[in-house]
Symmetry: D2
């Protein structure tokens, strides 16, 4: 059986496993106060090219979204997001559990439009009764989105401009950030993210780490002054914090993060081409590691004999939307086998 | 100046004020443990005709929604509501502040459809990943809705049936309940609400009391076993609880609640007829005390010289939606004066 | 039966009831945007003599404590209080429900000592692991305390100094403030509270209003910039806000607040003297409207035939602590009758 | 430098690292739905000998405490704990952040007494005003405690009996469970914990895993029916859940968990004997891997040249309390070196 269900099915990149083995019996202080973590932070700050940035490591994506958003917002503020945004759909109400409304805007293949955000904020604050509403305090977007799509630098700049005009924080969920950065046609860099956003995170879990997300805070925000306490309060402070440091140091020391992402995206493009060759156009124009197709159920059933992948929505009468995900661990052989069975 | 802004602009019905004066210097125990409160509860239970019902008094509407919904839901559950529902729009995120998502469904003049609720729940629980979502735990509807519309008994029964099928609590926000109960064409009674819902509240603040809402819990739910503690925890337990008892006893002792509501609705119908006579059709077919019209801005400006009322949405270029609200305190003279200026 | 159970057994001062009657049928805008509220705020600001103060009205004490403390604290901060403090004992976990720890310090007849606060904060921040704790963000004290005792101006100044040294907010629960201000020997004034504290509230519920507490914010704190939204989110925004304005305007227009408090305290002193004359020393040296005695159970049982009052703690084998509370509504006759039965 | 700071300074047991390497490139489904996790659960259930038990895996201790306690309690309930309990001191208010008060009882070397719990509950529910308090809903104890001490089976049974008498859940924090189970004189077994408690957890982080805690739920509680959603909502659901399964399967397949714990405790005993031999009595009679001594500052300074360890409280003028922690990774050589320097 070959697997295209998700990008967190395998363990970690061999380089990371090796590094964990090599450092295993060293004894260091806990909670991220060790040298590995310090070096990993330096490497990431350097990659972002922003001296004002601060880097923090958390374990998982929902945890990171919950903790960061709770930090960015006042208790009476909500977070604006695409209606398809992960925080609005697949996080078990983690944001609301911290007391914040997720204010959903229409999405376009997973993306929000700067003008929609602007006109939402305009009409919100024009409403004389807005003190009786949950006040928007930040914008959440994902890069790539849940649909594999990307914001262009122009789009991201426009969104950033709107957020700054309204003094709202811009937070980018980068669970699959690397897969976006290396995508063909992408013109957004880590440095852009460091200047255009207030906070973003560099996903590790889906990009070759056992686990771990690197939060990059770009503003000298007072809100993050006691971030360690906030992380701990959210149950999100890893005791053996150096495990995160070791992994991210390995990912960012010599470009491993990028190389691993490239593998996934190249294979996803190969997969896409293969489908197109067989007459199946992508349902969404995704240049990243997730590929969506509306396929006849008989084709789906045939592929299911050799591969696992996910339905995207309910199974239709004759055809259904399905998703194929490549990761750093996907092999060319697996893609070929899938295409052969198509 | 005459006023049609809202139904909470005046104090209380003279009968209520007299009763508060009459009982003012009596000394009773606090927090609703007094005789007035006991009698008010009996009167309301009797009006509802449900021996299993329990009655509690709170001070205001948002407070009641927040406290009741937090009691109905598990901590990981959300509440389903019309996208126009008060809890989704005008309560400053009070529901989310208690940790619960408001799951918005499409609305039709403020109402949700039983089939929409059913199909939402069907697809929610058909989704294999639903454990990763905020689980719907209750349905919130308002009667009358924020648009003055009413559910028919048939509609309410259908909604109740769906909720019971899925074992979800049905909660009715009755901030303006009396104005609905007395409306022409309404076929829903307090007894119906007592059998078809799990909890509803009988609004006092907008219906002639200084303040106060009567929560009627129809099921012998274990969830309400420590409701006094929950109310107190939400900062919603009135020290001089008898003030609520005295007011609701007065409202329900001899039909005052109904008489006062009738005045408002009759005048609202008179207002509506007057507008129709002048060629302005209601924007929404509301049989209750709120009336909505789309009027030319010049008409709005003319009326504004003698009356206050609210825009319903932003002012348009040529015409705008406005709302006129009648209450127990509205006089026939005020409606005539408004119509004369139309 | 005569009553000494609590200071919220009767309705409101006749002057307040009259004012509510006089203004009853006026129609004003809601949520405290009316003229009565504006004037009441001006009167209170003037009484406090602090032009920077802002005044807000809420309905009840627990609600006020919950809303104000949640506003003063960051989400990861707790509030320091006497172990006997109302928020630590009798508010059903309302503070924790908003996410904040109540950090209890030892109390002395209901009071905390400035040096205890200072040494607690000193050792807290000296602990290298303090980021792993709930960080103290404010100090809560009550004036008078739950035991009827008062801080002297010197004590209050010392506490204020410690709070400012550590940059922690000082909040005073003044549910019975008037009873403290008029007490013999008291040297603390409203002006002192306005300069020495960050926030305090002037209790109405226990001092002659039907309900209502006036929150005085003395600093130009950004935290209170959206306080109306926070109040609403907590379900604490009264629709007919002018009821609070009318009551506090009446209380502060011509010294009624002080006069009513004096009645209570004078009678409490008369009660105290009477007990002393009969050989019962007060258990706590309270100069305010609450009086505590340890009495033989036979005496308690005898008094219970003509009067109601509360046990303070469990009934002992031979003697028990009881509390007698006088209020603005207590009469000289009631005190005489009680003493006669002693 | 040798290290006795804590029991989470090294990575993982070599057997665990090997197993992670061996399974690294396998692709499995996420969130603990894999075969490793299933088998690990079976092994733990088998070790506990309770067919009704359910096992869940979380990442860290504070996270586990926060998530389990929030699941055990109603929203208006608090958790009773020793004043020295980890949740009351060192979790950044994580419990309060979920809305629950930590109700502190006096502790005796980290332990609570069954009779204290009973008399607290007795007087709580005897208080007629208890509805105005935060209602105790569960008891939290730790085994071993934060001071390394253990409850005997008799003590644990007595505590369990009190909890059942009052229908309160008993939850045991087993961050260092193994170190307690193997201690000399300990007569408590996993089976005892499975019958005497409602929930307990078997710590992995401090006992040889990279991270991970195994929660054992012994009752067929409805509260845990949607525990996966609750875990996710708390940001505590690990994407690559099999990492937890692989580790705990390794720990419980052939007694590794016990063997590793024994190493730590034997060395701790050796350390203790060494100190006694040199004339330093343990400050607390701990039979587990944590040892506490009050040492002259000059001795502390001397040891600090070759070893790291923690002050337990502030440094005193002449002598100070310090803690030495052995773990699965501690070597005999390290202990000898420390003793040699004493």
């Amino acid at each position: 059986m070959i697997h295209f269900d998700s990008d967190y099915m395998a363990g970690a990149l061999p380089e990371i496993m090796q590094r964990l083995i090599d450092t295993n019996l060293e004894e260091t202080s806990g909670y991220g106060t060790d040298e590995y973590t310090r070096r990993a932070k330096e490497l990431i700050k350097s990659a972002c090219g922003n001296d004002n940035s601060q880097v923090y490591f958390l374990v998982g994506g929902t945890q990171t979204n919950k903790t960061v958003i709770d930090t960015l917002l006042e208790r009476y503020e909500g977070v604006v997001a695409a209606d398809t945004g992960h925080i609005n759909v697949h996080e078990s109400g983690a944001i609301e559990n911290s007391g914040h409304k997720v204010i959903a805007l229409p999405s376009y293949e997973g993306k929000v439009k700067a003008e929609d955000v602007d006109s939402y904020l305009t009409s919100f604050f024009a409403d004389e009764t807005y003190a009786h509403m949950n006040i928007p305090g930040a914008l959440y977007i994902s890069f790539p989105t849940e649909y594999g799509t990307l914001y262009s630098k122009e789009e991201l700049s426009a969104i950033s401009k709107v957020c700054r005009k309204w003094d709202k924080a811009l937070y980018v969920d980068g669970a699959r950030l690397g897969y976006g950065l290396v995508a063909e046609g992408n013109d957004v860099t880590l440095k852009d993210l460091s200047t255009l956003t207030d906070v973003f995170y560099i996903g590790g879990t889906k990009q070759g780490a056992l686990f771990g997300e690197a939060v990059v805070v770009n503003s000298e925000s007072k809100r993050f002054a006691n971030f360690t306490t906030i992380i701990k309060m959210h149950g999100a402070l890893l005791a053996k914090g150096r495990l995160l440091g070791v992994q991210f140091e390995t990912l960012f020391a010599d470009g491993l993060y990028t190389r691993a992402a490239k593998n996934a995206v190249e294979l996803a493009m190969k997969l896409q081409s293969g489908f197109i060759d067989k007459g199946y156009q992508p349902a969404i124009a995704s240049p990243t590691n997730q590929q969506f197709f509306k396929l006849p159920n008989e084709v789906i059933d045939r592929l299911s004999k050799i591969a696992t992948f996910e339905y995207w929505g309910p199974r239709g009468e004759n055809e259904s939307m399905v998703r194929f995900v490549c990761s750093w661990a996907t092999t060319a052989g697996a893609v070929e086998k899938l295409l052969a069975a198509l």
